[in-house]
């Protein structure tokens, strides 16, 4: 077998040139090493998910050795901090709190977000756009702690109590829910705007050609064409609201509540986790375990929402790309 390092290939005219045969070299080893390193980097993301699932699962299993799963899933009283008779681990109030607050938030965010998105996509003149888009981007960039501060120190006392005269407690679902909605408005608005802008111009022209005015075109033609993108936006907004912690922790209070009274204090799953895990919770205690089992529940719920949202986004992408 000729040695590739010194072998020659013979060209026309009998000229000899170095062989093209692959030979192991510093460069080829280097390229292979690069590829392996990059793959290892990509694998970190897999490791992260595995670590999340593992740590949640581990303590969740430990929890269900102490508390029957039926009590957890179907119990209507959540009071892990009490001892003895009063202690109860029914998670329904937390799940209810999460969705109740998300519901209030979406009640604000969906109409405002969709209308803003439609406006930006179909109606806004350039001058107005130059103001409204940055406003939405600013709103999207405000850290949630700031919203929490705003809800507790301004919205509850000055808007709800003083301005509107409502008899709300210092911690109440209305404040936390509405501000949660404000948090989510930019998410919905920008996604709605994106999916409506992606609708081909030919549809608008066709509608205008049939005599429809701009509003009719936007509502009856463009919006339905962008519908799955809009629904994806809503699901994404809901997912964000469900996972939000600090606004509810600060403004919603720390009472797990299973009623329908927006003036009372409520607690969401995420808020409970942050309230309980204050860094000095002893490992292995039942308190510690509650963090994980509620975390697991929250994780599964957002995972479900995310899968639904991705399916919808894929459906919408197929139509126009």
């Amino acid at each position: 077998m000729p040695d590739p390092a010194t072998a020659f290939s013979v060209g026309p005219n009998g000229r000899r040139t170095p062989s093209l045969v692959r030979r192991p070299s510093r460069r080829s080893r280097f390229e292979a090493a690069i590829r392996a390193t990059l793959f290892a980097a990509a694998a970190v993301s897999i490791a992260t998910t595995l670590a999340i699932v593992f740590s949640l699962l581990n303590e969740t299993i430990a929890f269900f050795r102490d508390v029957p799963i039926g009590d957890y899933l179907f119990g209507t009283k959540w009071s892990p901090q009490f001892q003895g008779e009063q202690q109860s681990f029914g998670v329904l109030p937390l799940i209810w709190g999460t969705f109740y607050l998300t519901g209030i938030g979406l009640l604000v965010a969906i109409p405002v977000g969709i209308l803003s998105g439609i406006y930006l996509a179909e109606f806004a003149p350039t001058r107005v756009r130059k103001i409204v888009k940055p406003v939405l981007e600013l709103l999207a960039g405000v850290p949630t702690i700031v919203f929490g501060y705003f809800a507790l120190t301004f919205f509850t006392p000055e808007v709800l109590r003083n301005l509107l005269g409502l008899g709300v407690g210092q911690f109440n679902a209305l404040s936390a829910g509405i501000i949660l909605g404000v948090l989510v408005i930019p998410t919905i608005a920008t996604l709605v705007e994106d999916s409506m802008s992606a609708v081909p111009q030919s549809l608008r022209e066709g509608s205008a050609g049939l005599g429809a005015n701009k509003v009719q075109t936007a509502i009856r033609v463009v919006f339905p064409a962008a519908l799955s993108g809009v629904v994806a936006a809503l699901v994404l907004g809901a997912s964000r609201a469900v996972g939000e912690t600090v606004i509810i922790l600060i403004a919603g209070g720390q009472t797990a509540n299973l009623s329908l009274n927006p003036t009372e204090s409520y607690q969401s799953m995420a808020a409970f986790i942050a309230a309980t895990a204050r860094g000095d919770v002893p490992t292995g205690s039942i308190e510690y375990e509650t963090i994980f089992v509620v975390g697991m529940t929250l994780f599964l719920i957002t995972l479900l929402l995310n899968i639904v949202s991705i399916r919808l986004v894929r459906k919408y992408r197929q139509v126009y790309e």
């Binding site: 005219n13 000899r16 170095p18 093209l20 692959r22 030979r23």
Partner: protein, 291 residues
């Protein structure tokens, strides 16, 4: 050329050289033209679909070979076989042999990176890098680790590409600021900087205006003294003007038109192909009856 230098040094180191052919005693008949690519039954598949079938021909040294034919007949696919560029397409598979300098380019142990250093390519749409003119030209030699004065290498390449006089005062300016024709000549010069012996050109003038096209055609005629050129072109007049040999590709439809495969109908001297082709399909195409 560095290849030459390398080979000379090696020849000096190894006293046993290949035996020289005996000098002919009688007047030789017309010398057979040297072959740079011996293409042997090439078939290219994209997944299950065969894109070109059974291409067998010899491409000659220091000549311009034109590949002509209607759209979608596999000319670009074929030319990309010559420098292993089809490797970049995950579903592509090439069967057959292409012998270059005594080695089969598609043998298992051939390094495609080395192949591309010796066989250069210019693309349909000029694709200069977003760097200076100097850095564009120097890129190939730098990644090859070519030793030598880079300024000199750049100047030589730009002169070979008939671009030196126009850009010698602005070598450090960004290549994106050049016109389309200049950019394409830059891409040619860039390909020449690595001292290949073959230049593959895939419709190099189709994105250019007629004047730039003319300049590049003149350039090609000059270059063929030192390089072997293979050009894909839609422009029959261009093929007739510049090439020595022409291969006419056609599309074969299978399965009620759903399945298209390219094949070579006729390959021969350009004069013959355009004035007296053997195959009727060739004649129909070059006289404009279709395509």
């Amino acid at each position: 050329m560095t290849d030459q230098r390398r080979e000379d040094e090696a020849a000096a180191a190894k006293p046993t050289a290949a035996p020289k052919p005996a000098a002919p005693t009688a007047p030789a008949p017309a010398a057979p033209r040297d072959v740079i690519f011996d293409v042997d039954d090439i078939n290219v598949f994209y997944g299950e679909h065969r894109a070109i079938r059974n291409v067998t021909l010899d491409l000659h040294l220091n000549e311009i070979t034109a590949l002509i034919g209607p759209s979608g007949c596999g000319k670009s696919t074929f030319i990309r076989c010559l420098n292993r560029m089809n490797d970049l397409i995950p579903t592509a598979r090439v069967d057959g042999k292409i012998i270059y300098h005594g080695e089969d380019l598609y043998a298992d142990d051939i390094d495609p990176v080395q192949v591309r250093k010796r066989i250069g390519m210019v693309f349909q749409k000029p694709n200069p890098f977003p760097k200076s003119i100097y850095d564009n030209i120097a890129f190939g030699p730098r990644v090859m680790g070519m030793k030598g004065d880079m300024d000199e290498i750049v100047e030589t390449a730009l002169r070979r590409g008939a671009l030196w006089d126009e850009v010698k005062d602005r070598l450090k300016t960004n290549a994106f600021g050049m016109s389309g024709g200049q950019q394409q000549r830059l891409c040619i010069a860039r390909a020449l900087a690595t001292s290949p012996d073959v230049l593959l050109m895939d419709e190099p003038c189709s994105a250019l205006d007629p004047i730039s096209t003319g300049r590049i055609e003149d350039l090609m005629m000059e270059l063929k003294r030192e390089y072997s050129i293979v050009i894909v072109t839609h422009n029959m007049q261009q093929a007739a003007r510049v090439s020595d040999m022409t291969a006419f590709f056609t599309v074969e439809l299978h399965d009620e038109g759903r399945y298209r495969t390219g094949a070579v109908v006729e390959y021969g001297e350009t004069d013959k192909i355009f004035t007296n082709p053997d195959d009727k399909r060739t004649e129909d195409y070059v006289t404009g009856k279709f395509g």
